[in-house]
């Protein structure tokens, strides 16, 4: 609990969101429909609405055509239209290319063959030196920021279904609060002034202002909750009425900070490797189970007290459940056992708390037989013996802690190398280079625990912090497969992604022309940089070449949270 207090509000506001927010602007903002309607008294003394606006919001101007948010982007702030008008492009949205998204094309076997024999004379050779944008869009530099704009707004408005939002309207709050991808592309249909509200502010406002809370929650319930609940196998047998009922009572909780990565990066340097960073207690061992916890996003770790520390048992992610055992046990045997294991948010976690009584009334009675027996067995050993007994993994504890500590649990395609077998032959690197025009896209080094090495290759995270704030949408999730890729053409080398990747898996390179000379940006004579990383050999047949290229069965791309796969791979010898 101590940690919670210290690290939940790390000296907030020492770096205001917008440097140039003044009393005058705040006053102006407060006149807007949204903020005007808020009940300032409901905010605590130490957290007045004005200060929130002053520090956690900023005013930005967009010119006509500027793209504000892209569908699929990750963002941690919402926008309020102060003046002017924006257009929300409803599905089917703009062409991907207009959003700066574009993945390598599927390549034929022959082109692959060719690439194997083609000796690249120089590394990082590019056709286009400067970033360029597909027809219909362009980019301009606006002070620090780079803006991508739609050239012919009218034709877009006529061609696509565009919903106009004029002043006082807000958008992007759900994506910001629930850390879900943006659901639609928004662009300025005319010069517009927006108030960007970062998630901290949103969270506080939601917490202290009932009207806002209801507004957001209803929105959220409508858009996300039901579908989310539907997707949980435990509730599969419930009918819509029940789900409605359940949704009504479900509470949203959010732990940790969205920019945990930054915080993590800041702290990991200072702390010794045994301290736990950015871990916020959600449930302490011994608390009363007042509800079943569903992970909507973020990560948690289940741990039990061991002497003076906590032993990680397993990690929880999207769609995982916590607390079912205790609830079931109490319901079944009429006992009141408290929580057997603690639950921590790793970095941040969004939790849905379904009250215990709902579970007892709606879920458990109607539970199919096979579920019952299964859960009963689990619950018994969970409660009577120890959670440690049934957590189904034989990944050794040390490695577990290592993976948790370094947040590798975030990875869906983490590159792990079994050093007992790795002969340092660099076949993986060669293969990678062959797949990427002679340029490796990872480095065969990284942190190791015992004989397992996690190499510096993009893990294609569940929570891709690198996507946040990409000005051109160059880095994005592919439509199919969900790999994180960078569109080399639209990458402007701003290093936002590289900087925010907590694993140092994105590397900036200076690009060259095919006669080897480094391309300089004529505006400032600096070498043009491009962000590069593993794209999972997207477009190449047969998946990541590195794994196929390893002659000694040493390298694997693996989802760390897939405990069974992990333990199987780890315990091969």
């Amino acid at each position: 609990m101590k940690k919670r207090t210290t690290s939940h509000h790390p000296k907030r506001w020492d770096t205001p969101f917008g440097p140039d927010m003044s009393e005058k602007e705040v006053a102006r903002v407060l006149t807007t429909k949204l903020f005007g309607g808020l009940d300032t008294d409901s905010f605590p003394q130490n957290l007045p609405l004005e200060k929130i606006i002053l520090n956690d919001t900023r005013l930005i101007k967009y010119q006509k055509g500027d793209i504000i948010v892209r569908v699929g982007d990750y963002g941690s702030s919402a926008f309020l239209v102060v003046s002017g008008e924006v257009g929300v492009v409803l599905p089917p949205g703009l062409h991907r290319k207009m959003l700066g998204h574009s993945e390598p094309k599927k390549r034929s076997i022959f082109s692959c063959l060719a690439s194997c024999f083609k000796r690249t004379r120089f590394p990082e050779v590019r056709k286009h030196g400067k970033p360029y944008f597909e027809t219909g869009t362009g980019s301009r530099v606006d002070g620090e920021a780079t803006r991508v704009y739609i050239q012919d707004v009218e034709s877009v408005v006529s061609k696509y279904t565009v919903v106009k939002l004029s002043d006082g309207k807000m958008f992007g709050e759900i994506a910001a609060l629930a850390r879900t991808p943006r659901t639609a592309t928004v662009f300025a249909t005319q010069d517009v002034e927006l108030l960007e509200i970062r998630w901290q502010a949103l969270r506080d406002i939601r917490r202290y202002d009932e009207k806002f809370r209801n507004y957001v929650d209803t929105l959220y319930r409508k858009r996300n909750l039901i579908t989310h609940l539907k997707n949980i196998s435990l509730f599969a047998h419930l009918d819509d009425a029940d789900l409605e009922q359940m949704a009504k009572h479900t509470l949203f909780e959010s732990y940790g900070s969205f920019d945990w990565a930054a915080a993590y990066n800041r702290q990991k340097a200072k702390l010794d490797k045994y301290a736990s960073i950015e871990e916020i207690v959600i449930v302490s061992q011994g608390d009363y189970m007042d509800g079943l916890l569903l992970f909507s996003s973020g990560f948690g770790k289940v741990a039990i007290q061991t002497n003076h520390g906590y032993k990680s048992l397993s990690t929880l992610g999207h769609k995982d459940i916590f607390g079912l055992e205790e609830i079931f046990y109490n319901w079944k045997y009429g006992e009141t056992v408290s929580c057997q294991a603690g639950l921590w948010a790793l970095g941040y976690a969004d939790i849905l708390r379904v009250p215990t009584f709902i579970i007892e009334e709606l879920v458990l009675p109607k539970l199919p037989e096979e579920f019952i027996s299964q859960i009963e067995r689990k619950a018994n050993s969970w409660v009577k013996e120890s959670p440690a007994v049934i957590v189904d993994t034989d990944v050794d504890a040390g490695l577990m802690e290592f993976l948790v500590y370094h947040r590798y649990i975030n990875g869906t395609q983490t590159m792990m190398i079994d050093l007992d077998r790795c002969t340092h032959c660099d076949e993986c690197v060669h293969a990678c280079a062959n797949g990427h025009n002679g340029n490796p896209r990872f480095i065969r080094h990284g942190r190791k625990y015992n004989n397992k090495l996690v190499a510096n290759a993009c893990m294609h995270c569940v929570d891709p912090v690198c996507l946040i704030n990409c000005p051109t949408g160059a880095i994005h999730r592919t439509e199919k497969g969900g790999a994180i890729v960078i569109n080399d053409n639209t990458c402007i080398g701003c290093q936002t992604c590289a900087g925010s990747c907590p694993y140092d898996n994105i590397r900036m390179v200076e690009i060259r022309t095919d006669n080897g000379t480094v391309v300089l940006d004529e505006s400032n004579n600096k070498p043009i940089l491009k962000a590069t990383k593993c794209n999972l050999c997207f477009g190449l047949p047969g998946g990541p070449a590195c794994q196929r290229a390893c002659p000694h069965d040493a390298l694997i791309r693996i989802e760390i949270n897939n405990q069974s796969a992990l333990s199987e791979w780890i315990n091969r010898s």
């Binding site: 490796p440 480095i443 080094h445 990747c501 140092d504 590397r507 200076e510 080897g516 070498p527």
Partner: protein, 719 residues
């Protein structure tokens, strides 16, 4: 844990590029330049940055990877103040490996080139030293390898021509002549093989069955599937050369035999058919009854001193030790059998009547006035008036056939009382041709005889044979005989030839005016006393040879293997004429002088011709038979029974009887067939060995030993 050496942060640690050929030489210092070398390994580095000009001021644009803008900033003329010190780029590991690989490959090519071009190269090409037998051919690979002298290009070509091994095999045969069917199974013609197969089949149907087992097991039966109908049987399949001096170049495995042979069995001890009458495939050529000799004769007292002590007394191994042979008549038989040959023990005439005067009923002839000139009176006629020899000789004359035909009805020429005129006419002719014969003999001697024999036998005979047949008939003997029998012959014949008829004159005992003696006067040459102790003329010729008895000239065999007898038996046995054959029958009688046929068996050959077996056949050292056996090498195995260990006497067998027949196939050996069990005692895998080639040859036929290479022969002639 000590602090980490590597900083993996994205700013500090840039991509490793092991796939690049060249690496910046300053990498080892930890401060490589950003440009890196070009693909030829030349350092590209110039300055750390290319400064930017903004309204007359230059700004440093150094890359963040070099630590961002530098403190000094560019020099006033806008050049970077931090020139990068040039380096000597180094090759990457991959690049090194490539270079080593290439250079070693080149080296290998060079070595190959040398081997193929240099003179000494052939020594390297040769896969090893030759066997002792071929030693010395190393210098001349071309002697055995057809393609050798065509050079490498030629080798490549011939490598693809499938026929090389066959061609080489022919080279082998230029020395090792295996006959026309060398390359066929067992070096035998297909027909011969087929014949043998059927024979074998027949033998197996009647004789002992062999287990038609899966021979060498599954392996063999699978091999058989692979063997083609006409397997390519070049020499090198079994004969391996270049295995080094003193190595055996021959070798054929059990499996290989079994992979062709229809009847499958494991080994001699297991499944091999029992021997049929081995070793005798026919009756003996010399009629020698081991049983009667061992059981009877050798036990008789009179022979006790002559009887042999053991087999070794008569039998001895041939030089190569394989076959046992006999010392021969002189050493083994003569002691007891000489008297029979010389005819001492013979009753009656001890010689063969060759020439003689037939007796005629001269009273009738006189009375009827048949002009036959002089004719001796009442000699001691033998029953048979003309000896087979006389008939044969007279048959040379054209008249004779007619004569024979007419007078054959007369039972006896000594009684012509009721002979028809025609018959008498023919008797007259007979008388004259007899006289003509003697006339010829007298004036021409042996030549006449030889010609006569040739004409009568009606087939070409070599001179040597004729001489043998004439057997040195002494002219004087002819003359004296004529003086006694036809004193006036020399006068009469010319007249007779002139067609004059010469009155019959009966020669009585008294000497006529010419002083020639008549018929029986022979003994009267002696004085009273002389004739007292004189012995019969038969006995006088006891050492053999020609002699006159009454009105006959006879020949008595001189010693064993008498030329006259032998030659006449051979010639007459082959003769196509009736008289010739009758003569053979006359000579082959058991009691005929010389008694040749008593021991020398007569065979009818496949061409239905008769041959007298004079000799035990000597084995030709070049003859390679299916089975091979060395007597001498088995001596050590004999127990106290000595030869009888294997050769068991068969007392029941009626050895002698079969020789009346002339088919040498039906016979009863004195010995029981050798039993396989005896061999199997020692011939087991772990003892004396029991593989096929222990006892069998592969190449069958008569092969001369390796010839001198014709080439060398030519060389020497041409100097």
């Amino acid at each position: 844990m000590s602090e980490q050496l590597q900083d993996i942060s994205y700013m500090k640690s840039l991509y490793e590029r092991p796939n690049q050929k060249w690496v910046c030489g300053k990498k080892s210092t930890g401060k490589p330049c950003l440009e890196g070398p070009d693909d030829r390994g030349r350092c590209q580095a110039t300055f750390e940055c290319s400064p930017r000009k903004e309204d007359d001021r230059w700004f440093c644009t150094r890359s963040q990877f070099l630590g961002g803008p530098c403190s000094q900033g560019p020099s006033p003329d806008g050049t970077c103040c931090r020139p990068v010190q040039k380096c000597q780029p180094i090759r990457s590991w991959r690049s090194w490996r490539g270079i080593v690989t290439c250079s070693i490959a080149v080296l290998t090519l060079a070595i190959v080139a040398l081997i193929l071009t240099l003179d000494g190269g052939t020594d390297l090409i040769s896969p090893g030293a030759l066997s002792t037998g071929h030693a010395g051919l190393e210098e001349e690979c071309g002697t055995c390898h057809v393609s050798f002298n065509t050079g490498f290009s030629g080798w490549v070509i011939s490598a693809f021509s499938g026929s090389i091994r066959a061609e080489n095999s022919h080279r082998c045969q230029s020395c090792h002549n295996l006959g026309g069917h060398a390359m066929e199974p067992h070096s035998l013609s297909a027909e011969r093989i087929e014949a043998l197969r059927t024979e074998q089949k027949a033998g197996l149907e009647s004789g002992p069955q062999m287990h038609n087992s899966i021979g060498g097991g599954l392996t063999v039966s699978l091999s058989r599937l692979l063997v083609s109908e006409s397997p390519d049987l070049s020499c090198d399949i079994c004969h391996k050369e270049h295995k080094g001096a003193g190595r055996n170049t021959t070798g054929i495995s059990q499996e290989r035999c079994l992979s062709c042979h229809q009847d499958q069995f494991y080994s001699l001890s297991n499944g091999h058919p029992d021997f049929v009458n081995y070793p005798s495939s026919r009756r003996t050529r010399i009629i020698f009854d081991h049983v009667s000799h061992l059981e009877k004769h050798f036990k008789e007292d009179k022979y006790s001193d002559k009887a042999p002590m053991g087999c070794g007394a008569c039998h001895f191994p041939e030089v190569d030790g394989t076959k046992m042979v006999v010392y021969g008549y002189e050493y083994s038989c003569a002691a007891c059998h000489q008297s029979q040959v010389s005819g001492y023990s013979l009753s009656g005439s001890k010689g063969v009547e060759v020439l003689g005067v037939p007796g005629l009923d001269i009273d009738v002839l006189k009375e009827k006035g048949i002009d036959i000139g002089e004719w001796p009176e009442e000699p001691y006629w033998t029953e048979d008036e003309l000896s087979p020899f006389m008939k044969l000789l007279l048959s040379a004359r054209p008249e004779f056939s007619k004569i024979e035909e007419v007078i054959q009805d007369l039972d006896l020429l000594l009684d012509l009382s009721d002979a028809t005129d025609e018959q008498l006419e023919q008797v007259k002719n007979l008388a004259w041709i007899v006289k003509e014969l003697f006339y010829e003999l007298e004036i021409k001697g042996a030549t006449a005889l030889m010609e006569n024999i040739r004409d009568s036998l009606k087939n070409e005979l070599r001179n040597s044979t004729l001489i043998g047949l004439a057997a040195a008939l002494p002219p004087d003997l002819i003359q004296s005989a004529r003086q006694h029998w036809f004193p006036g012959l020399l006068r009469e014949i010319p007249l007779y030839r002139n067609g004059e008829s010469i009155q019959i004159t009966v020669l009585t005992g008294q000497v006529d005016e010419q002083g020639t003696a008549g018929g029986e006067t022979s003994d009267d040459d002696f004085s009273e006393e002389a004739s007292e102790d004189a012995i019969s003329s038969e006995d006088r010729a006891s050492s053999g040879g020609w002699y006159r008895e009454e009105y006959q000239l006879r020949y008595r065999p001189v010693l064993h293997a008498d030329q006259f007898m032998k030659t006449w038996l051979d010639v007459s046995s082959q003769s196509s004429t009736a008289h010739g054959f009758r003569l053979f029958e006359f000579l082959e009688r058991k009691n005929a002088p010389g008694a040749c046929i008593k021991c020398h068996s007569i065979d009818k050959t496949t061409e239905k011709r008769l041959i007298v077996n004079w000799k035990i056949p000597v084995t030709d050292p070049n003859e390679h038979t299916f089975a091979k056996f060395s007597h001498t090498s088995h001596y050590s195995q004999l127990d106290e029974k000595a030869c009888f260990t294997c050769h068991k006497i068969d007392k029941e067998a009626d050895y002698a009887a079969v020789f009346d027949s002339r088919d040498f196939h039906d016979f009863a050996s004195n010995f029981q067939p050798i039993s396989r069990k005896i061999c199997v005692k020692c011939h087991l895998p772990d003892q004396a060995g029991d593989s096929c080639v222990n006892c069998h040859n592969y190449h069958i036929g008569k092969f001369p030993p390796a010839e001198i290479h014709p080439k060398t022969f030519a060389h020497n002639i041409n100097g």
